[in-house]
Each structure stands twice: as C-alpha cells, then as structure tokens.
C-alpha cells in the first residue's frame, strides 16, 4: 500500500485566499466541503451528472466531483456561499438569482439548489458582461441555463420561472443604472 501523496494548494475561494493540504486524489467537492468547511456545495451523484456540486472555477461552472482539488491550485473558486455580492454600504446582498429562487418557489428540499444557483448566476453574469442583460432573456437561454442539472422535487417549472425573474431583475437594474447616468 503506497502512502497518499499530499500537496499544499493555494486557492482563492469566494474572494478569500486559502491554503489547504490535501491528498492528491481528493476531489474538489470533498476538499471544499471537508477541508474548507464550505458544505453548501452538495454531492448528489459523484459522477458528474446531477450538477448539485457545481462551483465556478475562474467564473466558469465546473462539476467539482469531476475535478481534483490539486487542479485548482492557483485559481479562484466560487461556491454558493460566495454568490452574494458586496453592496455599496459594505454589506452583502444576495445575487438576484438567489432572491428569485425564494420568490418563485424554485426549491423544495434545497439539495440541488447550490448547483443550479452557481450555474445560473454564472450564466446571467456572463450575459451582463457581454452587454446582453438589457435584452429580455429567451426561452432557449433559460433552457440552456437550467438544462444540465437534475432536480427531483420541483419539476423545474419554478426554476425556469426564477431564472426569468432573475434575468428581469438584472435587466431592470441595468436599465435603472443607465437612466441614472
């Protein structure tokens, strides 16, 4: 039996530089949950299908059960705990998609929710970055954003609704900001 090799990695997690010493075989999902205590990332299948464990690596959705922790050395990772943003008063405000999930009853047991939130938030943020957030979101865009995650409770209707609601909130924000300028 060979002894596990360990490696110390430096990762910016939710904006905070963190160091962790992990066995090289440790999955990113397990490292986030058990080494860093960020249990908001959930493991539903461990084979990359359900999407519950989705986190953002350098802003891009990744199934953290299909990645080793050592692979994110030197990169930034955002989990559901890091989706909220600082407001100008220095407090934390939820990402619009988080608010929308609550408003639209887009979660029941909540287990798949973190993966959907990170995926949709990344998609909506990318729309904004590309300057497309002033355009109403299309049904195809919504299908794309929610189409890769499994949810056993909701039947997805309210998840789609929340996705549209969040896009609309962001559109209104951008329009207001533009009007104010």
């Amino acid at each position: 039996m060979t002894v596990d090799l360990e490696r110390t990695i430096s990762v910016t997690v939710n904006g905070v530089p963190r160091e962790a010493t992990v066995p090289v075989r440790r999955l990113l999902s397990d490292a986030l949950r058990h080494e860093l205590g960020l249990t908001g990332t959930h493991v539903g299948c461990e084979h990359g299908v359900c999407g519950s464990c989705t986190v953002l690596v350098e802003g891009v959705p990744v199934r953290s059960c299909l990645m080793l922790a050592v692979q994110v050395d030197g990169q930034s990772v955002t989990t559901v705990e890091g989706l909220s943003r600082s407001n100008h008063q220095g407090g934390q405000v939820l990402h619009p998609v988080q608010e929308s999930f609550r408003e639209c009853h887009a979660l029941q047991c909540g287990f798949c929710t973190p993966g959907l939130l990170t995926t949709i938030a990344a998609g909506l943020d990318a729309r904004r970055a590309a300057g497309r957030d002033t355009v109403e979101i299309t049904a195809e865009e919504v299908d794309e954003l929610v189409g890769g995650n499994l949810c056993r409770c909701t039947g997805y209707a309210n998840i789609k609704k929340a996705c549209r609601h969040a896009a609309e909130t962001m559109r209104a924000e951008t329009m207001r900001a533009a009007a104010a300028r």
């Binding site: 039996m1 908001g40 959930h42 539903g44 084979h47 705990e81 287990f111 189409g147 039947g155 209707a157």
Partner: protein, 810 residues
C-alpha cells in the same frame, strides 16, 4: 401585517438558509467524524462462505472492521418487520450485516470504519469475501414461475396473498353483458432523492447518551428502533432529522442497517462515526418500487358502466418485506379510484425476487392501481365505441353519494370511505383545461407537421392522512417568540412555513415570531412519520389544535388581568385586546410571563410574575389545580380514518414517426386536496409529482439482468427527467373540504405522480393506434410495437385516427 395566513402563498422561510448554502444536511454534520464504508454483495443470491479481512489490516487509518460475527444481542437478529399483517404469511428481513446468505446485489456484508471515507473504501476493497452462488430470481414473472426460490423455505416465492372482495364477482361477471380480460405490466422505478441516505452518531460517554442524525422520514421510530436494537434506554437516545435532501418514500423505511451499525460503531469506538450513502449504494441497497403484473377481468353493460371487476396482481416485493404489504394494500384499495364499482374482487400476490427491497415511493402502489383502472376504462370505451371521457363520466361516483363506502379496508386498517369529493367537477374542469373536444383539429394540425398526436386522461382518488396520529406543541415565550414543534419530519415540503402559517393564523401572532421545529425527538417524542401525504393533515391539524389550546389559556389569563370575559377578547398581531375597546390590551408575551408565577426575577419582564409584583388572590394557589405554569399546550390529532383527495390529469403527446420519440406537449392537472393552506407549495408539489410521473412513464426503469445485476445503477443510465423532459403543466384547483378534520385538509404530496403512466399510455395509444399494455415505454419499444403484426390495434371514437404509416420511415 395580517395574521390570517391560511390560504396565502406565503414565501418559504426554509429558503433563507438554503439559497446561501447554509442548509445542514446529513453529510454537513460531524466534520471530525470517523467514516464508515460498506462492502456489499456483488452477487444477487449467494452463500457467504468466508470473509478474510487480513489484506485490509495494514491500511493506515483503519479503525475497525465489523462482520455479522461481531453483532450481539438484538443486533444479531433479523431486522424488524415494521408492519406485520395476518396475510403476510412469510415475512422475511435481512440482518444488519449478511449472516449466511445474501439475497440481492448491494446487501451489506462488512462495515469498515476509518479516519476518512477514502481510507475506509481502500480497506473495504482489500477484504476478500468468498461466495457460493445460488440460483437467481429476477422479475415478477420469474418469481411467479417459481423455478427457483429466493428464500429456501418459501418455495413458491409468495410472501403474502392479499385479498379483498365486495361481493360475488363470479356471479356478477357471469351476469354482465360484456367482459374483457387482459394482462399488463408496470416496471420498477425508485424514489431517487438527490441526497442519499446518511447517518451520523455521537456517543457521550459521560452521559451514556447517544445522539443520532439520520436522513430519515421517521425520526421517532428510528429512535425506538435504535434503543431496542442497541439495548439503550429510550431517554438516552436522541434522533434528529436535519435538513433532508428529498425522501419520496425511500427514507420512511427504518431502521436501515446503517442506522443501527453506525451508532454501534460510535459507541464501540467512543468517537463520532458517519456514513454518507453514495449514488451507486443508493441504487443497489436502498429501495425501489412499482413492478407489477396485472391480470384484469371487467364486466360492463352496453353503456360502458362497470358491473364487476376482478383483478389479480403479482407484486414484486424484492428480497425482503420490512414494510409489510402496504403497497399491495394500497394498490388493491385505491385501484377503484373515483368510480362506483358494484362488485370488486382483488388479490395481490406479493412475491420475492433477488433484487433490492420494494417499499413505498411517492404514490406507493397508487400509480399501478390507477394504471389498472384507467386503462380498463379506456378498453371499455374502445370496445363500446364511446368517448373515453364519457365512459369515465358514466362510472363516476356522484356528488350526492358522499360519504361513499367502497367496502374495502385501507392501509391504516380502517374502512375506505370517501369523505368528500366532486369527481364530476374534476372531469368538467379537466376537459375544459385540456380542450378535450378539440383533439380532431389538433391531430390534423400535427399530421400536417408530420407528427402523430394523441390525447389521454386518467383520474384518481388518493387516501391521504392516515393515522394513527401526530402531535404538536406550541409555546409562547416571554420574549413573544412562539415555539412550535411536531415530531413528523420534513424533506422539502415546506413544513416550517406551512405550520408557522397555521399557528400564526390560529394564535393571532405575526408569522415572523413563530419558529417551527420538525423531526427532532428532543423537542417532540411522539410521532409517526412523513408518508402517505399526511404531514399537513396530521401535523397541520395537531399544531392548529395546540395553538387553539394556547389561545384559550392566553385569553383566560388575559381576562383576569383586563377584568373582562375571555369571550370578549381577541388576539391580533400578538396583542390580546378587549373587542371594541382599543387601548385595553395586554401583549401576548406579557401573558406568557404571567402564566408562569415566579420567585426569582432574571430580567425586567420576569419581574411582573414575581410574588410581590402585584395584588394576588390569596384564596387561590398561584397555579390553579389542574393548571400548569407556562403558556404552552400540546395536542394531538388522530383521525377516525383517512381522508380522500382526488384529481384528474390529461396529456397530449406528439410522436415523431421517424424516431418514435414521444413528446408530452401539454399536461393538464385538476387537483383537489381539500382546503389549501399554501397554494404556492401545493402547486410545487404537483409540479414535482408530474415530473416523476413523466419519468416513470417514459424514462425510468431498473434494468436488472438475469443475474440480478442492476445494469443502470448511475444517473448516466437511469434516466431521470431534466428540465428538457418535463412538459409545461397547467393546473386547476378544486377545493372540497374534508369533513374529517378541523382544518378541512386532504394530503397533497403524492398526487402529482399517480396518474402519469396511465394518462400518457392512453395518449400514446391514441396517437399510434396500438395497445400500450406495459409502462414505461421507450421510443425503441414503441417502434417495435408499431411494427409488430401481433400488436393489438386500437381505435378511439373520440378523435378520428390518422392513417398510420407503420415504420416505413424507419
């Protein structure tokens, strides 16, 4: 804000923590716990000859290895038969760890505990178990044929023969103008919650007390089972269901082997131990449901009215029967649905197979019963040349027939008496919602687009809210906070919100002041569990009754202070006041302080309750005889029998005759669960149920091979619907209050899933003109069916069928 919240779509309070990643699911607990992993049988039926652990002993971090030989006392006995029944003549259960024989792939054989799950799995992989393979029985037909026995001492594989009849069916069939006989099948699926099972145990060696967290639907009963099996006194065991990531029935079974073995190891090692089920383990060692062979004979008159129904069902119960014959009973009794069936006989043979155990999955036998009855209605309609909706209408129980006695005995041992309903109303609403009569035009439109369109419907009646009871405790604190607890657990249904709505409404306090705890035996020790769409009915009524008790006591105390009659007082927004006399009031929180006469003041509020605070009545004791200190009340709701919800679904499918892909393009639901506490949550339950119904009809099946190996034990291969597979659902509500409980509620949790397979089969059959006698159905199976010369041709009269170009494009 208003305190009357009953019926409002109040946003969920659970969500605040769940959307920021602060939920607390099983694997989120016990960061320092040791980890357990299980070595499970790779064979479906085999004798365990030898277990050699030597190879594992040198693994660094290994802490303990347990086999059957390490189990002592009650732990070494078979797991309990949770629901015994006189007709369950051959109950069989496994051992926490396999003793001599394994009966399905996935049965636990060895438990390994190590410092970390990775290490535990390393060690488990080094343990050598020698098996001697035995003949394998897979599938209900093989069990029925009984060429081999699953359990040596049950040669016909029959665990139970459940039988009910309401008259002489042979005579009634002989007297019927017409009869039809046919056989049909339903496949296995599974609850498949996104969070698997899991157990965390902590032993306090000083207190000699055990705390167990488990992802369960029945924490009080898990507690009792652990106490019994580990020979601990009940008060030394606490069991808590934390946030649970979905259940859908699979977590009502208990005690799972792991729920006993993990605490056992925690006590032995004097350290926290945790086991978190992985997805493959869930597929091969948790429960499945649904496989049945249904042999049906129906008699009816010229007008399509049923005169007699004779049903013989073969039900695959898997390797063991821990949950008794609940599913057979539910299928048998719920099969008749919303219809008046003059004479009915049913026999369900529950048979063993070398597969994972079969216990309730959302619907729990009802989808199969609905499939049997609704497909029967379609056949009668086709044979008589009558519209399928019309045949159903002619057989419906009418509004003036309630309460309607089906003369059957339900899963709670009580009579099946439909308490209330309006099935004609359901049908009218459904036809309008799906635009049933416009199908001819829609079919032509689809045909013009090169697609085959079909429409189908199914109705159901669902016995919900069975007893024996649930309880609720409501307590008002001196801070004004209202604590509510009930022993029943939550798996995402929004109980914290709904129960808070009910208590806020009953008590007249702001909902923000109400805190709800569920499934924690430290807070409420008496409970049954969350299953059979019973939470709102049972715990909802119990907490409402408890709140009424608190209200009565509050008014009595406040009446003394305000020198008024209790009948003249109201509580609004947490303030007790004299009706029509503004300003004459006392906050409920002060009433709470006064309800507990004190000697010692620990804060400003408490001073009001001390002995020198004001003039007292020296002729009476501070706490009256029969009274108790504190503004709190515990109450229970125990129903005389179940209440019966109902509904009707209709679907439109479009089929591509090149690929035979089946698209559900329209899905309509009419739903009646009595009075609705929170319509947003009820709609969410319906949406989720429909998605599972569509999955069960078109995608999900357990693909066992002849050796009992589950070939699709992953989310790659077992196809649960993604968003792309779930159609848009339109819902219409009907509210027929239950006369059986104070709030007029019926259950809502399972309904959405029940008619899915029946309605979709009906629609596919309508589209392709071929009999659909087995569900689920894949495009490949549909292609084969359409091309088969042996396939039964079907014509519905309601829509005109298109000419079917069978397979020419394939």
């Amino acid at each position: 804000m208003t305190t009357k919240l009953f019926g409002e779509p109040v946003r969920r309070r659970e969500d605040a923590r769940l959307i920021i990643g602060q939920g607390r699911y099983l694997d989120d607990i016990g960061a320092d716990a040791h980890a357990a992993a299980f070595l499970r049988s790779p064979y479906a039926h085999a004798r365990v000859v030898d277990i050699d652990v030597t190879g594992a002993l040198d693994v660094e971090g290994l802490l303990a290895i347990y086999t059957y030989a390490d189990l002592t006392g009650p732990l070494a006995e078979p797991l309990p038969v949770l629901i015994p029944h006189p007709q369950l003549t051959h109950p069989r259960t496994g051992y926490p760890l396999a003793k001599d024989v394994v009966q399905h792939v996935g049965e636990a054989v060895v438990m390994v505990v190590a410092t970390d799950r990775y290490v535990a799995e390393d060690a488990a992989a080094l343990i050598e178990v020698t098996y001697e393979e035995l003949p394998v029985v897979v599938g209900v037909d093989a069990a029925r044929a009984a060429l081999h026995a699953v359990h040596e001492d049950v040669p016909d594989n029959v665990a139970a023969r459940h039988h009910q009849e309401t008259g002489d069916v042979a005579v009634a069939l002989a007297a019927s103008a017409h009869t039809l006989s046919f056989t049909q099948y339903v496949e296995r699926s599974a609850a498949m919650p996104m969070e698997g099972k899991g157990v965390h145990a902590r032993w306090d060696a000083d207190d000699k007390a055990l705390r167990v967290y488990t992802s369960t639907q029945a924490s009080t009963s898990v507690r009792a089972a652990i106490a019994a099996k580990l020979q601990l006194s009940l008060e030394k065991v606490e069991v808590i269901a934390p946030d649970v990531g979905g259940g859908f029935g699979v977590k009502i079974v208990h005690p799972w082997p792991e729920e006993l073995l993990v605490p056992m190891a925690a006590i032995a090692l004097g350290h926290e131990v945790k086991w978190t089920e992985d997805r493959r383990e869930h597929f091969i060692s948790s429960a499945h449901e649904r496989q049945q062979r249904q042999e049906i004979t129906v008699g009816y008159d010229d007008g399509g009215r049923v005169t007699a129904l004779d049903v013989h069902i073969w039900h695959d119960n898997g390797a063991y029967t821990p949950y008794g014959i609940i599913i057979p009973i539910v299928t048998a009794t719920q099969l008749v649905g919303p219809y008046a069936v003059p004479v009915y006989r049913v026999q369900v043979d529950s048979v063993f197979t070398n597969t994972v155990i079969v216990t309730p999955y959302r619907g729990a036998g009802r989808p199969q019963g609905c499939f049997a009855m609704e497909r029967t209605m379609d056949r009668i309609a086709q044979e008589r040349g009558i519209d399928r909706a019309e045949v159903r209408s002619r057989n419906l129980i009418q509004v003036d027939q309630f309460p309607y006695d089906q003369h059957l005995t339900f899963q709670d041992g009580r009579p099946v008496i439909y308490d209330s309903g309006d099935y004609v109303g359901l049908m009218d609403k459904l036809k309008a919602l799906i635009d049933w009569d416009s199908v001819v035009e829609r079919r032509a439109d689809a045909e013009a687009r090169g697609r085959l369109l079909g429409i189908g419907m199914a109705m159901y009646v669902e016995g919900t809210g069975p007893g024996p009871y649930e309880g609720g405790h409501v307590q008002v604190l001196g801070s004004g906070k209202v604590l509510v607890s009930t022993g029943l657990t939550s798996q995402g249904q929004g109980h914290e919100t709904v129960f808070a709505q009910l208590v806020a409404s009953e008590l007249g306090v702001p909902m923000e002041d109400v805190e709800v705890t569920t499934g924690d035996t430290r807070r409420f020790g008496y409970a049954v569990g969350t299953f059979a769409s019973r939470a709102a009915v049972m715990s909802g009524n119990a907490v409402a009754l408890a709140a009424r008790g608190v209200r009565e006591k509050a008014l009595r105390i406040a009446a003394d202070v305000l020198e008024a009659e209790p009948a003249d007082l109201v509580i609004e927004d947490g303030l007790v006041q004299v009706k029509g006399v503004p300003g004459t009031s006392i906050p409920l929180r002060t009433v709470a302080v006064l309800s507990n006469p004190l000697r010692y003041a620990f804060d400003e509020a408490a001073k009001q309750a001390t002995q020198f605070a004001g003039p007292g009545d020296n002729s009476k004791p501070p706490v009256a005889v029969g009274d108790a200190p504190g503004l709190e009340h515990t109450d229970y709701y125990s129903p005389i029998r179940s209440t019966f919800a109902s509904g009707a679904h209709a679907v439109v499918v479009e089929i591509d005759p090149a690929t035979w892909e089946i698209d559900v393009v329209q899905y309509a639901v009419v739903h009646d669960c009595g009075n609705v506490v929170n319509p947003m949550i009820v709609e969410g339950q319906v949406h989720g149920g429909v998605a599972q119904g569509v999955g069960g009809a078109l995608y999900e099946r357990m693909a066992y091979d002849a050796d009992g190996q589950l070939q699709n034990a992953s989310f790659m291969d077992f196809l649960m619907p993604y968003a792309s597979e779930v159609p848009p659902v339109v819902i219409d509500h009907q509210e027929t209050a239950s006369p059986l409980n104070p709030l007029g509620l019926k259950g809502a949790g399972e309904a959405g899933v029940i008619p899915g397979s029946a309605a979709i089969a009906s629609a596919i059959e309508d589209a392709v003109g071929r009999r659909i006698a087995a569900m689920p159905i894949s495009p490949t199976e549909l292609y084969d069916l359409v091309r088969s010369s042996a396939a039964d041709r079907v014509t519905n009269t309601d829509p005109t069928l298109p000419t079917l170009n069978t397979g020419a494009m394939a």
